[in-house]
Subunit: 86 residues, 2 copies
Amino acid sequence: MEILKVSSNSKPKAIAGALSFAIQENKNVSLQAVGAGAVNQAIKAIAIARGYLAPFGINLVTYPEFKEIEIDSEEKTAIRFMVETR
Amino acid sequence: MEILKVSSNSKPKAIAGALSFAIQENKNVSLQAVGAGAVNQAIKAIAIARGYLAPFGINLVTYPEFKEIEIDSEEKTAIRFMVETR
């Protein structure tokens, strides 16, 4: 499972490119975001990646899961976006 | 299509309840969010609704779309989360 870590500073188009590439390589891929700004960028990236992949007949869907992670010894709740084709 | 409008002040559990109810009634439902805070609440709601629906054998997935909307005569870009069962 490839995990793309998304921050509030991540560029949605760049994440969308990496995500689309991974999907086209048939990799299992997910996005991980901590905080509202990062979640927003992740969602924009998925919306953009849907547009990149649609001409190839690929229809991306996602589902979010809560994931407890540790950052600098602090426990945070991340959102993990599982990404799949349909 | 039922559209649940989500704001940054919306309570994820309340949205999750409304979403789960609509899905169990076999309605077409989507969430609409403007801004990072609202997108974050919408995603939390979908994650929670997945937990509500899993015991019924219902597996929710979503996909985001950009949607131009008008709020107080200003054009804004909303994220529309299409919600489906798989």
